[in-house]
Assembly symmetry: C2
Homo-oligomer: 206 residues x 2
């Protein structure tokens, strides 16, 4: 195994390239439109070659999902490092969440809307915990809010889930344009309606 390092690097490199190309196509066109044949064409290889690096299409998107969650986690880095606590932290996190969702709609869908790669997550990796790391951040903020008495919630668990549901609902409905479907005439002001609605939620539970 003289060149097994080199070989290993080549394999890593190919896997990375597949992921990069897949990610770009996916963010442009979504899951269904991102076909293995397109990926292969961009890379310049045969579709079958991809199967030497990933077991199937789902495995690629499972990997992409993991990347997306990491990307998502890193988006909260400045909040995690800053001194801000409690209510203001919760507000910042909410805005950041909405930002991420609206600016990376396909990544958001991959994480929280689509089901296929999710099953892979459950099946392949019982130690998967990047999602939980993100959720813990929210629970932490909610806990601080309850300690400082800045919001009225029953308990941390339920409060965190409530707020998550709320921002997820905001983002999901906006991404898929379902709000435009339900409220046709009241549309001019919804440009940043998601932010406004989140702020109103905070006011209401204060």
């Amino acid at each position: 195994m003289r060149n097994s390092n080199k070989r290993q690097l080549a394999i890593e490199s190919m896997r990375k390239q597949i992921l990069e190309v897949s990610s770009q196509l996916f963010q442009e066109e979504g899951y269904e439109q991102t076909t293995l044949r397109k990926i292969a064409k961009v890379i310049g290889c045969n579709p079958a070659t991809i199967y030497n690096y990933y077991n199937n299409k789902e495995a690629i998107f499972f990997a992409l999902q993991e990347e997306a969650f990491t990307h998502f986690y890193e988006a909260f880095e400045d909040i995690r490092l800053s001194e801000v606590k409690g209510f203001q932290k919760l507000r910042k996190m909410g805005r950041k969440y909405i930002d991420f969702g609206l600016n990376h709609p396909h990544l958001y869908e991959l994480m929280f809307v689509l089901k296929p790669p999710m099953k892979a997550a459950e099946a392949l990796d019982p130690e998967w915990n990047i999602g939980q790391k993100n959720y813990d951040l929210l629970k932490e903020a909610v806990e601080e809010c309850m300690e400082e008495g800045s919001i009225r919630l029953e308990d941390v668990e339920s409060g965190a889930f409530m707020i998550w549901s709320m921002v997820h609902g905001l983002v999901a409905l906006r991404i898929n344009k379902h709000c435009e479907m339900m409220m046709k005439e009241d549309l001019p002001f919804i440009a940043n309606q998601a932010y406004i609605t989140f702020e109103n939620l905070l006011k209401s539970i204060k």
Copy 2:
């Protein structure tokens, strides 16, 4: 055109049958798994025959979506007819919404999660307003709540959207099992967590 009535009835009947079979298959297996070939096999006709009654698969699911919205609207019939107003009405509506979502997950997805038939809705039927009829019911309840001062919201428009986002988030996250992904260990109690969380929201904004 002697028998054109009869013919017309046969066409209506066939369209109805296609819709019924599609609906059943869809509610059992979802969008992707409900293929035109399966539908045709159940009906006992050639797949191509279906194209004499619907332009394409999307058109079938657009029709199903309209049915789903009607079904959804009718689920609120008793609330609409009852005397209950304001806060209690909002609570009942929330529970009904969650009920519907959890008991008919595929229909719920068709209405509020999947995108394909949505585009058809926009494109084909600018007079489509069944969605708005449902939303108006919510706005009405929110308005009553604000009049009686039972909940603290900025305005009707924003308040209604907030509550919709909240219950949609609850249902959508549960349907796709994303909550189980984010909070692994806190799962025993979530059997009817959606209801509990909704009740907590109401308490918090009271």
